[in-house]
Symmetry: C2
Subunit: 137 residues, 2 copies
């Protein structure tokens, strides 16, 4: 056994050549990293993808492939597309909340007397702007 073999060559039970495409991105102390990527993409597809990139971008590519593989192993149906949908929904929710809060400022500016009695009740309540039907609508 050659202790200098990278995690990919160990996994594939092969000799690790000096110019191994996997070696810089799959160190032997993290066998899980290559195992996950191999399970989803296969060794030859990962090698092809890394080879087509300039060497200074390969670490980022190996990292992002590993992340995507992990998402796909955790959620075989949606993978990281599931996370993308979730984040898009979060953006939509926060933008809606922001629009309501900005509308509230505009209303208060135009009707300072009308809102004065509500201020003491509402200010300091963190869910004030999260309500589906705010007091001023």
């Amino acid at each position: 056994m050659n202790p200098g073999r990278c995690a990919a060559c160990r996994y594939l039970r092969r000799r690790c050549p000096p110019d191994c495409i996997f070696s810089p991105y799959f160190p032997p102390n993290n066998p899980q990293r290559f195992a996950s990527i191999h399970r989803i993409y296969g060794a030859s597809n990962v090698a092809k993808l890394l080879q087509q990139l300039p060497s200074h971008l390969r670490t980022q590519a190996a990292d992002s492939l590993y992340l995507e593989a992990q998402y796909r192993i955790e959620d075989p149906v949606y993978g990281c597309v599931g996370l993308i949908s979730l984040l898009q929904q979060q953006i939509h929710d926060v933008e809606r909340q922001l629009a309501m809060t900005q509308a509230e400022i505009a209303f208060r500016a135009r009707h300072p007397q009308a809102v004065e009695s509500n201020l003491l009740n509402n200010v300091g309540n963190p869910s004030f702007s999260n309500q589906a039907s705010p007091w001023f609508m």
Copy 2:
């Protein structure tokens, strides 16, 4: 040539069996869909992934694999992890904007006289709450 072959079997130049794992998700009228997936994952990895899922979830899995493959072809370094970072940054920005706007409401409620002179200048300006350094800080 068999016109009934699915896009995967056409691409792989093979007979399309009646129980083809690809056929329901890769119709012959969309050859690009299988070509993208094959380029990133390889046919056998996609087949394995679909086979391990119950049939009612395979359409969603094929769709999400296709989307991820498209992201990876467009951005070979970051794939859809690049989009995830972008969305997380967007959420951070909108949450920051929301916190500033909520702080503004609280300030106005506690200092109604102090802000009165600013209202006419600021209300109706859509970028009012987007400023990096708002007037009250």
